[in-house]
């Protein structure tokens, strides 16, 4: 066997041995740590932040559970992740409401027992039987939070008055400083509302679809860029973008709390509601624990956590939740209008018909919209 000469007095054992034993130690460690932890592991598929300690921490401690989150950005992304994984990978799936039907059609989610969940406490009747979540009397998904999308703007560049209409995006002073969240659905939906399609914003015949495309194209010269989460936050914070299309308080709320001069408002042409709901993944072995968690999220404590979520804020959707929020965080409740009687009370806005649930285009395919989106980016 070759002798290894030591240079300069360095004592050097065979490097191969170090690597060999080090590697073996590392490989065996997961088994060691797993043996110690006897907690139930729940695999979660969700938008960023739903598996973080500020949401799940208390539940995890109380029930000896550990959530393992996989985060996606966009409903298409979510579907892709599920499609590429073996069935039963994800125990709990947080889905945007409009994608629940697709999840169900593709057989990715379990049917739920409606009696398990407290629908009576919902603030608004629609929430009790949210479109897309039910298949007749069969429940597939439980709504837990929602938020509104509208005009997001920098207060130093656009006045509150101007922000009451999507028209402010075309303001010459913000040329090159209007950004888009890089997802076709909300931006094109807003353009549809701008064209005056109101409640029929997703149901466009050829003529209306052409009009939407035209309106969108006319905005192109104002556009500074297309951004994902990180890019959106950064651009609004450092002022590169002074208006953003396709988002709402879920982004500006976080920035506002950080001291940035931004805000979101529902304009007169109408706003879009995003709705998030929990489903149980098909083939999950932890269905009971998931059910318990969903119930927890509907309690006042859970609702407050959801409303105050660090990643992005949302509205409390139950009466108990709203009351508790006013009790523990009046400031936030006032900021978002979640007090009965305030003019920008989201429930009032819905009742007035100024809010439209985000949906999937009815007469075109998602592909058609995405194709146009690519074309728009390239223009």
């Amino acid at each position: 066997m070759s002798k290894i000469k030591n240079l300069g007095g360095l004592v050097t054992p065979s490097r191969r041995d170090v690597l060999k034993y080090g590697g073996a130690a590392a490989l065996s460690m997961p088994f060691v740590s797993r043996a110690w932890a006897q907690t139930v592991e729940v695999n979660m598929l969700a938008w960023y932040g739903h598996g973080e300690p500020d949401i799940v921490g208390e539940f995890e401690a109380a029930n000896n559970v550990k959530f393992k989150p996989k985060y996606y950005a966009g409903g298409d992304n979510m579907l892709g992740l599920i499609a590429q994984s073996p069935p039963g990978t994800y125990d709990i799936i947080l889905s945007d409401a409009e994608f629940v039907q697709q999840l169900n059609a593709a057989g990715y989610i379990e049917e739920l027992n409606a009696a398990d969940y407290n629908f009576d406490d919902m603030l608004y009747d629609d929430f009790k039987k949210f479109p897309g979540h039910w298949d007749g009397d069969k429940l597939h998904s439980v709504m837990v939070r929602c938020g509104h999308l509208g005009v997001s703007y920098n207060k130093n560049a656009i006045t509150a008055e101007e922000a009451t209409s999507y028209k402010c995006f075309w303001k010459p002073e913000v040329k090159g400083k209007v950004g888009h969240f890089d997802w076709h659905l909300p931006s094109l939906g807003m353009m549809s509302l701008y064209n005056g399609n109101g409640a029929g914003l997703w149901d466009l015949d050829d003529a209306k679809w052409d009009a939407v495309k035209k309106a969108t194209m006319s905005l192109r010269s104002q556009v500074g860029g297309f951004f994902d989460y990180g890019g959106t936050f950064n651009s609004l914070k450092n002022g590169e973008m002074q208006a953003m299309c396709g988002i709402g308080d879920w982004i500006t709320g976080v920035l506002e709390k950080d001291g940035a001069p931004v805000a979101s408002v529902v304009p007169k042409e109408g706003g879009i509601q995003w709705t998030e709901s929990y489903c149980i993944g098909k083939g999950s072995q932890k269905a009971d624990m998931v059910k318990k968690f969903i119930q927890y999220m509907l309690t006042p404590e859970g609702q407050v956590k959801s409303a105050e979520m660090k990643a992005y804020p949302g509205f409390a959707i139950t009466k108990g939740g709203r009351a508790k929020l006013i009790e523990v965080d009046k400031k936030e409740a006032e900021r978002t209008g979640q007090i009965d009687g305030m003019t920008n009370d989201p429930i009032t806005l819905i009742k007035e018909g100024r809010i439209h649930y985000r949906g999937i285009p009815k007469q075109q395919s998602l592909e058609d919209w995405n194709d146009f989106w690519s074309e728009y980016k390239n223009a």
């Binding site: 300069g8 690597l19 994984s85 990180g230």
Partner: protein
């Protein structure tokens, strides 16, 4: 005189290049200690909150562990494959040798995003998607060329009579390999292993597509960046930087201390 001015100008120019390359890294380290969530100029206060957050986050440790497991395993496989190929190239000539070399040397020419897409689809099809060893396999394919190149360079320095001498003295081919070739290549093997491990540790495109629920650290960074950007990314980035640096320093020490010996190598 003109030569001296030129020389100083060129040396200053090198400094400018280094400035360009290191400025983003320096800023990142600075931001990781900055109290502001969205860094702007002027800076906020000194704070270690981001480090506190990631060090207390169980998921980060889990991702780090996965990254280490993947890096070590992938580099072991890649180094082994690299050695086999380098030796075959050094010792033998055979038909289709060009195609043979192309097979191992092509992966770096394919953009990562294409490799990621192809591997995800392929692994899904053969049912191996989302496992830790799918990342290991993908990374081994990716880094094997580097291992092969490094070991091949070292073999170039070996006196070709060395193996022959061993055979003449009665050693079998296997014995000669064990006692002559491998020890001679040891510094290159270790360097290759460290390099492959370092590349694997920072690779995120393929890992993101292929990893499913098993996150590596770069995937973790990518999720934060696309999900909830804050300076934890900088803190993690600085950590990855330190770890990779340690591996590269180790490789450098190995390669250069062994270089000091006569290149003819030594037997048994």
């Amino acid at each position: 005189m003109q030569q001296r001015v030129l020389t100083w100008f060129l040396r200053a120019y090198i400094g400018v290049i280094f400035l360009f390359v290191f400025t983003p890294i320096a800023f990142s380290v600075v931001f990781s200690f900055n109290s502001q969530r969205f860094p702007t100029i002027p800076l906020g206060e000194f704070s270690t909150q981001w480090y506190d957050t990631i060090l207390a986050d169980h998921d980060v440790w889990q991702a780090a562990l996965t990254s280490i497991v993947v890096a070590v395993s992938a580099s072991a496989i890649a180094t082994l494959l690299g050695f086999c190929t380098a030796y075959s190239d050094y010792r033998y000539s055979f038909r289709f040798k060009g195609a043979y070399l192309a097979l191992i040397l092509l992966p770096p020419t394919i953009p990562l995003i294409i490799m990621a897409l192809a591997m995800l689809a392929w692994f899904s099809k053969i049912g191996a998607s989302g496992q830790v060893w799918s990342i290991i396999i993908a990374h081994s394919v990716l880094t094997a060329p580097f291992a092969m190149a490094i070991i091949r360079l070292r073999l170039n320095q070996m006196d070709e009579n060395l193996e022959a001498a061993a055979w003449n003295l009665g050693a079998s081919e296997w014995s000669a390999m064990r006692h002559v070739v491998v020890p001679f290549c040891k510094p290159a093997i270790v360097s290759a292993a460290c390099l492959c491990a370092a590349v694997s540790f920072d690779e995120f495109a393929i890992a993101w597509f292929v990893s499913g629920l098993n996150k590596t650290v770069p995937v973790f960074i990518l999720e934060i960046v696309t999900g909830n950007i804050d300076p934890r990314v900088n803190a993690i980035g600085t950590f990855v930087f330190m770890t990779s640096m340690a591996l590269v320093v180790a490789a450098q020490i190995f390669f250069s201390t062994k270089q000091l010996r006569k290149p003819a190598g030594e037997a048994g």
